[in-house]
Symmetry: C2
Subunit: 347 residues, 2 copies
């Protein structure tokens, strides 16, 4: 900057004015400064500028999740980054790999870099307060999970409602014996999984189906475990006429088990979470899809609102999951009840 000022024969303040497009500079001066910038390949140092800037902003935002490579996080990042660049804001992203210790370290690093705000997919639902405490002063929005026990802004899928709608979808087709197949997520304390289970069971309960008539498989840690357990489930008696899988590992396992037993076209399947090319399987797999991009976008908007001084109560934004009918979820039970099913309350 000194060099530019010298070459243009002006003070550094004038260079600053030109760079930042401030008023009160003569056209001729602007021209000379522009020329000098060009010739010297001058690139203003944003970090130095931030150091003394009035509003204390660094135009930097932190995004921290368990694993950036998982499709949900990647899609959310894409949306966040889009919002951010519109505001000239850069996004630093990192994976904590579901390690609360690493989560805190990275949050502190973000703070050391003076991030204006942080969007966090927490390592553990039960320890939200630690993350909030670490952020201390830096705006923080939870993504894909609700903070437990502490007030905080959050944007996530409405898991209970989505699972309830999945149950409803199958009930409407006449199914009465519907199995719940839950996968354990990377976090031991997975609030999302609990919500899906709750929403599913409540809806069946409202339809007058008692818990002992609902086969439940839990702890399906991976697709292979799911395949094995679900294979056994569909040989049991009375056999379920429909299956709901609460995560993609379970869905993958169910697809294999159903095809291996030749029942892929006779037992209905609805999965939670979409996956690429789900329409290539026979039949196409019906799912409730999370709106990862919408969640990312709204998280970013919420964060920017906070950074701009919005001081309302912390709020939770529940984003609906949407049904994608592809065939597997529209299979009717062999002996569909003649009595039409009427959807239970809630709406």
């Amino acid at each position: 900057m000194r060099h530019v000022a010298a070459l243009a024969g002006v003070g550094t303040k004038t260079v600053s004015r030109v760079v930042n497009g401030e008023p009160n500079v003569s056209a001729a001066t602007i021209e000379r400064v522009r020329h000098a910038i060009e010739r010297l390949h001058y690139q203003p140092n944003l970090d130095a500028a931030n150091l003394k800037r009035a509003n204390g902003r660094t135009l930097t935002l932190g995004f921290l999740v368990g694993n950036l490579a998982d499709p949900f996080s990647a899609a959310a990042l894409r949306a966040i980054e889009e919002e951010a660049w519109e505001r000239k804001t850069a996004v630093i992203s990192a994976s904590h790999d579901y390690d609360p210790q690493r989560e805190l370290e990275i949050i502190n690093n973000f703070r050391g870099r003076c991030a204006d705000g942080i969007i966090l997919g927490p390592a553990s639902g039960r320890h939200s307060f630690r993350a909030l405490e670490a952020a201390r002063g830096t705006s923080l929005v939870f993504l894909g999970a609700l903070p437990m026990g502490v007030p905080g802004d959050a944007v996530t899928t409405d898991n209970a409602a989505g699972a309830g709608q999945a149950a409803d979808h199958l009930l409407r087709l006449g199914h009465r014996r519907i199995a719940y197949c839950g996968t354990v997520a990377a976090t031991a304390d997975d609030v999302a999984a609990e919500e899906r289970y709750r929403g599913f069971m409540e809806k069946l309960g409202q339809a007058g189906i008692t818990a002992r008539d609902i086969p439940v498989l839990q702890n399906l840690q991976d697709a292979e475990t799911a395949r094995h357990d679900i294979a056994r489930l569909i040989q049991s008696s009375p056999r379920p006429t429909a299956i709901f899988t609460a995560g993609t590992a379970g869905t993958a396992g169910a697809i294999k088990a159903l095809r291996e037993s030749g029942m892929n076209n006779s037992i209905a399947l609805v999965g939670f979470d979409d996956f690429p090319l789900a329409d290539l399987v026979d039949p196409g797999i019906t799912v409730f899809a999370q709106d990862a991009e919408g969640i990312g976008r709204i998280a970013a908007e919420t964060l920017f609102a906070r950074m701009d001084g919005f001081s309302g109560e912390p709020a939770t934004h529940l984003i609906p999951a949407t049904l994608k009918e592809r065939g597997s979820g529209e299979i009717r039970p062999r002996s569909a009840s003649r009595r039409p099913y009427v959807a239970a309350g809630i709406s």
Copy 2:
């Protein structure tokens, strides 16, 4: 920092020493400073530190690709970020959406933030020199594409070899009529696609198959176009006994076309690029998979080597694609030639 120094009753230089773990501080002093840091929730400002740091490093790295949400980029980012945090380096990431103008703007922004280096999946293969020029002085490594016309470090899949191996795989099974189905990538000038085509055709040529005996579909822009064109292809005569698809859109289209015609178990299919749950289709889809994580990791290592002063000639790292046999690619032609096929040169 002033406040910490005051509270601990020491100079700021001593606080600096404790924070950075420098030697020559008495244990008692360290203890007092630690205490003050704790009480004041002091977090050192990295940007300020960088401003005067001797080596000029900011411990920041930029990652810029067409779309962060695509699985290849997301997996590469994950690997890069892992390498980076080991070196206390943060990763700023962004998508240029295949717009060369936006690509330049973001590179300049990275430079303004004093990134130590940049990993770039270029918007356009033909304009590498613009990106290099923009980076000017900042280390730059190309990822997933080779710089054209200018020397530069690059890490990418060995597309020609991978496509050649796919051809070889099918030739070994006795196939002689193998179709090439190419998808047009987001960039008009897609070097990777050209390389796959070249590698495929060369291998068939070496096997004595002339170009007019190789059905070629190009411009399969999306899965639907691919489904349509491939459906027609497999009704043609003589019908190909095997299909090679050069990208996932083509693979998806081929899967649909083959199933709809009932030939999914009689015409072989090998795709380039893996996709999730490829083993759920019937038969499972054989692919050559790119090693996105390996590519990301090696790009990061290459970049760090440059930043550490390595000044050898710019080099290209070609990472092999690996065969994943899942069934579709192991189907033999109806009337397999009795004469055993011997793989052609190159090795």
